[in-house]
């Protein structure tokens, strides 16, 4: 288990002692429903979150599922960590209803407009605060789609990063993942504590059971703000962002697709088309 007081970001595992159940923390993000039309607010060029339904980032559902499976196999415990406004409570509750044990919610008005750099700083501080053996998250969020947070977070915490995992095995001391690549997969092994980001191939997220839904409200959710994490408001949010949105345009209508007519060569043409886009 990582010693919580460790402020330099270096993680010290005491798992070797073997006395503690594995502590898994899953970072989840609340995002606008991918089904709904998204828009930026003209005032500050941030996403208009009120105009859309908010849901758990789909990729994070896979991370939650993997955390639950690992915890079931190793007798571990799953904590959900979410940074985001009040309404993020719904997403936390969903993870709890799937079976996570407890949650940590970082809420602070100053966080509005945080970029990946700031987000990773906040999550890192929160992770140090709760302690962990393993951090799991989705490999990207469906709204910003930068895929930056897993790597930044691992750097900040000085953890080995095992990204794009399509399979995870751990004995509680070491962790081995199949890392999805263009050519197939690599097998990567690290010692715990470590950080793993997952891809959709890894599992099939469960639906919450009725009992899980009824139990979720009774599970502990701790709320923290920036001062609890000893972070400065100027380092985060729009104020501390390293990137800024200057302008935006509506996505142009999709160009007409390429029509393949099968006149004996259809199969070949399809494969050539897919290969041209590196899809096969």
């Amino acid at each position: 288990m990582v010693v919580p007081a460790c402020r330099d970001g270096r993680a010290h595992s005491v798992r070797e002692v073997g006395l503690f159940p594995m502590k898994i923390v899953v970072c989840v993000k609340q995002v606008p429903d991918t089904e709904s039309e998204k828009a930026l607010r003209p005032e500050d060029l941030t996403l208009d979150r009120e105009a859309v339904d908010a849901v758990m980032n789909e990729m994070d559902e896979f991370a939650v599922e993997e955390a639950l499976q690992l915890a079931e196999r190793t007798g571990g415990e799953v904590t959900v960590l979410l940074m985001g406004p009040e309404q993020g409570a719904d997403t936390i509750r969903k993870a709890l209803s799937m079976g996570a044990d407890r949650a940590l919610h970082v809420v602070d008005d100053a966080l509005r407009g945080s970029d990946a750099v700031a987000t990773s700083a906040v999550l890192a501080a929160a992770l140090r605060e709760v302690g962990f053996d393993l951090v799991l998250l989705g490999c990207e969020a469906s709204d910003a789609r930068t895929s930056l947070v897993p790597a930044m977070l691992a750097e900040r915490l000085g953890l080995p990063q095992l990204t794009f995992a399509q399979k995870v095995e751990t004995d509680g001391t070491e962790i081995t993942v199949e890392r999805l690549t263009d050519y197939g997969h690599d097998v990567v092994t690290a010692r715990l504590p470590a950080l793993v980001s997952v891809v959709e191939k890894i599992n099939e997220p469960r639906y919450p059971t009725f009992k899980g839904i009824m139990a979720a409200k009774k599970k502990p959710v701790r709320t923290l703000d920036l001062s609890d994490l000893e972070l400065d408001a100027t380092e985060v949010g729009a104020a501390g962002a390293w990137s800024a949105v200057d302008d935006f345009t509506v996505r142009p209508p999709r160009a007409a697709g390429e029509l393949v007519k099968d006149e004996g060569e259809g199969g070949r043409q399809l494969v050539a088309f897919l290969a041209g886009r590196k899809l096969v």
Partner: protein
């Protein structure tokens, strides 16, 4: 169940919203194509049923000690409505956990509860419900299926029609009648005092036969004619003792009406969404047809009527779950009426909104036409509800 009435009826609790979302997500994974394919090819929606059962959605109203969710009909209406709203309703929810589950929970012996409730709760067992007879639909006083005592056994003879889901069921809860006093000849007809009594009849019982009735509905659940020819049942096939009177029967009828209302609301919401999606993008002249008030206003009206029906359904479910059977009776009738009428109008309007596509197999909206009409006649017809309200609520004299 929430502790404050306002929470339960007007504002949904967090758990209820989470349940809606979870059930909707599961339903969307299967979706209308799954449902329609099963309906059109003589299949069943078993995979969805099984999955929903494993997740505890089918047995939310069954007590916890018998493997259920320990909540009520309120939660079960949420499950049915949400599945319907994404185009794959499970009709047997109305029957198996709602009617049979409620009757056995409230009037079954401990042994009957242990035998049936866990399976009804997790969906591994299914029980159909048979009350309607060729000459006794709206008028249940005319029931002629009769049970005669023979030693410890019961011997059941009669006929039932339109019983849903018998092919998939392990047993059918049959409403028959028994003689009031031991001495009287248990024959149907004038003079004999015969009380309704409910029997669990296993589908494979000797003398029990079932035949499908060809229906015009596009649904995976089929309706059957039942022939009971001297079906011999053990003493404990009877649910509630022979003197229990109408109690056991009525314990099932309120949940049935409330769930029928949820079925219609779900179907209506699905049809409305399909119509709105279509009207938003379909352009006949320069604007989407949804901009024309001739298209928009009827859809808005449907939205209002569905929401009102839904509210009444929640009220009925709330009263039932709170143990107010009498209050629930009136509300359940009103909810069932309002929901069926709203669904009939919404499906009709949706079909029309889609123009020719509304009647095509591809869009699957026309497929709802007969189903929406079925809810106007079953489980209790529009007129019988109007009779009830006229007499009981308004105090008008009876015509029949």
């Amino acid at each position: 169940m929430s502790t404050h009435p306002m929470d339960t009826v007007f504002v949904e609790s967090e758990e209820h919203r989470a349940l809606r979302r979870a059930v909707g997500d599961l339903g969307r994974r299967f979706g209308p194509d799954y449902y329609l394919t099963a309906a059109r090819t003589g299949g069943r929606t078993e995979e969805l049923w099984r999955e929903a059962g494993k997740l505890g959605y089918l047995g939310v109203n069954i007590p916890r000690e018998y493997g259920g969710g320990g909540s009520g009909i309120t939660e079960l209406t949420i499950v049915l409505e949400e599945l319907g709203s994404v185009g794959c309703p499970l009709l047997m929810l109305v029957v198996s956990p709602a009617i049979c589950g409620s009757v056995i929970t409230r009037f079954g012996t401990e042994a009957q509860r242990r035998r049936w409730l866990p399976g009804l709760a997790d969906g591994t067992r299914l029980m159909a419900f048979g009350i309607t007879e060729p000459d006794a639909g709206s008028n249940a006083h005319r029931l002629t299926t009769v049970a005669r005592r023979d030693g410890d056994d019961w011997v059941l003879t009669g006929r039932k029609v339109f019983v849903s889901g018998v092919d998939a069921a392990d047993a059918v809860l049959i409403v028959g009648r028994v003689a009031d006093t031991g001495g009287e000849s248990p024959q149907a007809g004038r003079g004999a005092r015969l009380r309704p009594a409910l029997f669990v009849v296993p589908r494979d019982a000797p003398g029990f036969e079932y035949r499908p009735i060809p229906m015009e509905l596009t649904a995976p659940e089929r309706q059957f004619q039942l022939f009971l020819d001297e079906v011999r049942l053990p003493a404990d096939a009877l649910v509630g003792d022979a003197g229990a009177g109408l109690g056991p029967l009525f314990a099932g009828l309120n949940p049935e009406r409330i769930m029928a209302a949820a079925f219609s609301v779900g179907m209506g919401r699905y049809a409305l969404r399909r119509a709105v999606e279509y009207a938003r993008t379909r352009q006949v002249w320069d604007t989407p047809i949804g901009a024309h008030q001739a298209v928009a206003h009827p859809l808005a009206q449907c939205g209002i009527e569905l929401e009102l029906a839904r509210l009444m359904t929640r009220k009925a479910a709330y009263l039932y779950d709170a143990g107010d059977d009498a209050g629930a009776g009136e509300a359940a009738n009103m909810a069932k009426y309002a929901a069926a009428e709203a669904a009939v109008r919404t499906v009709d309007q949706a079909v029309h909104t889609l123009g020719g596509n509304g009647l095509s197999a591809e869009y699957g909206v026309g497929a709802l036409l007969v189903g929406s009409r079925a809810a106007r006649v079953a489980p209790v017809s529009r007129e019988m509800i109007l009779n009830y309200v006229a007499q009981h609520t308004l105090g008008l004299p009876k015509s029949y």
